[in-house]
């Protein structure tokens, strides 16, 4: 599992992750599997600053538990002029969505 600092270090060295960057608030088996095949999986702690600038020009998969959070990240990117290709995991629809809209229900683990 990586951190935002790892991504910053990588990019300072002129490198970028080869696979889409996975950002998750809840590392589970799926994200560990992605990590095993060589993807950079970043654990984001809800409430911490989300350094969206670091995602500039990258592809990112957000697993933030709710589409509200994903929407907030996309909004922040627009405000800061950060361009990146993003897809967010929608727990309700069980799919990656490039234009997440607020869901009727948050993920079960999120509600717990």
């Amino acid at each position: 599992m990586s951190s935002w600092a790892d991504l910053a270090e990588l990019r300072r060295n002129g490198l970028r992750p080869g696979f889409p960057v996975v950002i998750t608030t809840n590392p589970d088996r799926a994200t560990y599997t992605l990590s095993d095949i060589g993807a950079m999986v970043i654990r984001h702690n809800p409430g911490d600053v989300f350094p969206v600038e670091l995602l500039a020009g990258l592809r990112a998969w957000l697993f933030l538990g709710s589409c509200d959070r994903a929407q907030a990240v996309i909004r922040a990117a627009r405000v800061k002029g950060v361009e990146f290709v993003v897809e967010a995991w929608c727990e309700c629809a069980k799919r990656l969505d490039s234009q997440p809209v607020p869901c009727a229900t948050a993920a079960e683990w999120e509600a717990a």
């Binding site: 990588l10 990019r11 300072r12 002129g14 490198l15 095993d36 060589g38 500039a56 020009g57």
Partner: protein, 331 residues
């Protein structure tokens, strides 16, 4: 787009340069010399130019100089005398400062990954005292004079002792806390850098250069030649084993050579020997061969074949006492 490669467990490719361009403040990255003072710039430059150490085969530094913050690669075919010459260099660097040698008395760290520190100490003492038959008194002189100058890697024949990052960390600490100015690593092939892993070697070359600069030490790295060939073959910088990054990043690349027909060329106790300077980034910029002789009895490199007087690396009192043991009959 470059080919993906792995950094740790993560697949990476080359980033879009635009990302870093946005992060960099170009003005802050540029040295502004418009406000610099010409005199202080020149003084600083001259101070750096005068801050060098020399080698026993060129004690005046007319040809070769070692500056802090760089590294020298010592190569040569097996039996050429690299290690013996480096022992003499260590003694030369540690000799007490004098009028002729104002920069003497440097702290030295010797990291041998083939010999125990006790043996390394004795071999250095043999060179300093110019004899293979070291007495207790001679060794005691060396112990007393080198106690605060010579640091020896506590080699234990276990794998973790050859981790180069651990050795470089020790060098940085010794430079910072104990005044070490020169470090000897003997040799590249004993480190945990695989000879066929060019990426690891590139990384090692970078780490080595950064350690030299950060600690202000000069590192002497023994690296064997790439190709097994005759001792009289003329090598060049690309013949140093490992990644070419090593040769490119080094301040100096030297090949130690001994005559192929050693026996026929031998004059008494001496064997002709040369140090071929293949690269010298700073100082005199001299490229070429420095010739001399290896005196087997004295265990020293000497300037000519008729030289029977040992080069003196200890104090005057120590040598007076040591010569008394020989009773004027050294050779």
């Amino acid at each position: 787009m470059s080919q993906p490669r792995k950094v740790g467990s993560i697949f990476v490719t080359t980033d879009n340069p635009a990302f870093l361009e946005k992060q960099v403040d170009a003005v802050a990255e540029v040295f502004d010399f418009a406000t610099a003072n010409a005199r202080s710039l020149l003084d600083e430059h001259r101070r750096k130019q005068l801050n060098y150490n020399t080698a026993p085969f060129d004690p005046e530094g007319n040809a070769l100089r070692f500056f802090p913050g760089g590294f020298t690669i010592w190569s040569g075919f097996p039996g050429a005398g690299k290690t013996t010459l480096l022992r003499q260099l260590a003694c030369h660097l540690m000799r007490a400062p004098s009028e002729e040698n104002p920069l003497g008395g440097a702290g030295v760290f010797v990291c041998s990954m083939e010999e125990y520190p006790q043996d390394v100490l004795i071999r250095h003492a043999q060179v300093a005292c110019a004899t293979e038959n070291l007495s207790e008194n001679m060794l005691q002189w060396c112990v007393d004079l080198w106690a605060d100058k010579l640091k020896l890697w506590n080699y234990r024949p276990i794998e973790s002792d050859c981790q180069y990052r651990k050795i470089l960390a020790a060098i940085r600490l010794l430079a910072r806390e104990q005044g070490v100015k020169h470090a000897f690593i003997d040799s590249l092939m004993c480190l945990d850098v695989a000879s066929n892993d060019y990426e690891a070697q590139r990384q090692f070359a970078g780490d080595l250069a950064r350690t030299c600069q950060a600690a202000g030490v000069h590192i002497h790295l023994v690296a064997h030649p790439r190709k097994p060939a005759k001792a009289d073959q003329e090598p060049d910088t690309s013949d140093v084993a490992g990644s070419s990054d090593l040769g490119r990043k080094a301040d100096n690349v030297l090949f130690v050579k001994r005559s192929a027909q050693e026996m026929s060329a031998t004059q008494g106790h001496c064997t002709p020997m040369s140090i071929s300077v293949k690269k010298q980034r700073y100082g005199t910029g001299f490229i070429g061969d420095i010739h001399g002789w290896f005196h087997r009895g004295l265990r020293q490199f000497v300037p000519n074949q008729f030289h029977d007087e040992p080069m003196r690396y200890l104090t005057r009192e120590a040598h007076r006492d040591i010569e008394r043991e020989f009773g004027g009959n050294r050779a």
